[in-house]
Symmetry: C2
DNA sequence: CTGTTAGCGCGTTCAC
DNA sequence: GTGAACGCGCTAACAG
């Protein structure tokens, strides 16, 4: 391994000078810079990150914490996409990304501990938000920089997070259904202790109420991830005395499941029932019918969270921020107009 | 930050003793161990990873390199799953995972350089395999430990990689179609410079030939990822004088696209045409019809690659390995028996 | 503008 | 069984 000393020796300067040209210190003469740079290239010098980290007490690395695999959501294309969003800014800023690898809540907690205590990373992005989460509490206690993608459960004004306005998005997409003449509209969401679900559902209800349409409990179903359980729920829903003509589903992937169940029961989308959902994942475009869905700009969600985090790590006094990423409804073929 | 010295002072021993109990050195008396450990806990000591890395010249970290986003495949649920597989062993071994964040081939190349030269990681997992890849060549030149998930393009016997036997898998799944009475079988695959595609396709052809069925070029279509271009291709396929009654698709996600196009053209699966594919991603289970597909055990692919890599990093003389992960066909509802 | 010195936190001789 | 001393590669004063 070629070190700063080697370069120094080869150039006939001192190690600190070499260090300075690496930092592009303005007080170094252009000549020596040139010389040193040449030597670095010739010798194949590359700065040793551990050594630097040790002294500057910073790692230029951020940790990204995925939800525990209890949240089966991992199969959701949401994650690769948000990772890419994060990557787009970390790469630009020459930061690196350390991914959590724990599967259970406990494992993740330990991992985050190592990350912060061991000085693995300068800050952390939480890709989930759970009530009473040990990790979150830990981070707060330690005053360690972190941002949440989504809405924090507690201390909303004290935790910088980046999110969509899921309430309004839910309202708007429901209104679209209403505009198309639908009155009987159902909601199918994931676990109701996820804020996304709660917010989107609240928006759905608001739209209904504003329009003066009934919001009935039998129209709202929550199901982990669509398998056996979800199937019954959907069947029940459609065999109500007055089945819905429109459904708001909280997530594209879930929509795929709902779609299958619906078709299986002989109801066609959008002929018999209209469907809208959220995320605008690639999938929603290639499925039949293509989904009308709200594009929440996952990539941007990731990018902004990384940006906010990095700002926080370089400037600890950076104020808490609530960043809202605009969404946009993309209209496709899963909705039909009612007479 | 509480260091080894602090613990030493608090315990009345020397720093080196503390270091030894951390390493669980057997020549330390149980008593002092106990004492020191208590102090560590009390003071909240955590070993500083940078400092340790600096001296031991190892990072206990591995880099995971995703394909450039030119390979639009990133939306594929394959990636989160393989990441989880990798995570399952890195976590157990207390390794950490650094994710590449570059988007273009060039960016990724630079990134890998930093990773290896800067001693960010001990080894690297390549989640793709491209012909004449700079990254691969670089890694080889430097003699840096790495493993490929998939089949290397060159030097197959010189690069440890973990893969499925895609040829046989392709053959077997095609044979399943044949067993069900199909003779006219088409193949739809992704880019034909991906080895997965090549191998699976070869298997498909082999099955056909062995069964004495025609393998026609007009039955083989390659399309990046199914959008406009793919649509036409599928339409052409189905409007051949003798359209296929069965289709082998190289990937579940792609199957979803094919399925849509088929239905759009009024052909029903599996009534009019049978469909099989690969990967057994969660999606293939919730779609209608549920896909008959070969489960390639993505999670295991990830886990084994991490395991192999770690072994390589701890023991540089570890021999090159070709690890083949068994696959298994899971039979669902996308195939019908021909009379 | 540049060199010298010191020290980041840890592991590892080599003594005792 | 334990301590003292040194060095990993780098940056940051402090000189000059």
């Amino acid at each position: 391994m070629v070190t700063i000393k080697d370069v120094a020796k080869a150039t006939g300067v001192s190690p600190s000078t070499v260090s300075r040209v690496i930092a592009d210190n303005p007080r170094i003469s252009p000549d020596t810079k040139k010389k040193v740079r040449k030597a670095m290239k010739d010798l194949g010098y590359h700065t040793n990150i551990s050594a630097r980290n040790l002294v500057v007490k910073s790692t230029k690395a951020i940790g990204v914490i995925m939800p525990s695999s209890a949240d089966k959501a991992l199969q959701n294309p949401f994650f690769p996409e948000i990772l890419r969003g994060i990557g787009s800014v970390t790469h630009r800023m020459k930061y690196s990304v350390t991914l959590s690898s724990g599967q259970t809540e406990e494992e993740i907690y330990e991992e985050v501990q190592r990350m912060v205590f061991g000085s693995y990373v300068d800050g952390v992005i939480l890709l989930y938000s759970r009530l009473n989460d040990r990790v979150t509490n830990f981070l707060i206690e330690r005053g360690f920089p972190f941002v949440i993608v989504g809405k924090p459960y507690e201390n909303v004004n004290g935790i910088t997070h980046v999110d969509n306005d899921n309430f309004t998005a839910g309202k708007e997409i429901t209104e679209h259904l209403i505009d198309q003449g639908h009155e009987k509209i159902a909601f199918i969401g994931g676990s109701k202790d996820l804020f996304v679900t709660i917010d989107r559902e609240a928006g759905y209800e608001a739209a209904l109420q504003e329009a003066g349409h009934e919001v009935s409990d039998s129209y709202k179903i929550h199901t982990e991830f669509l398998k056996s359980g979800g199937r019954e729920a959907v069947e029940n829903l459609m065999s109500l005395k007055t089945p819905p003509t429109g459904i708001v589903v909280s997530d594209d992937l879930m929509s795929v499941g709902v779609l299958s169940m619906l078709e299986e029961s002989g109801v066609k989308v959008p002929r018999d029932v209209s469907l809208v959902s959220f995320n605008n994942v690639y999938l929603s475009e290639i499925i039949l019918p293509a989904l009308t869905t709200v594009d929440i700009q996952i990539h941007e969600l990731g990018a902004q969270s990384a940006k906010a985090l990095i700002e926080k790590t370089v400037n600890k006094t950076e104020p808490v921020k609530r960043i809202s990423i605009p969404y946009e409804i993309v209209y496709r073929d899963s909705v039909s107009r009612l007479p």
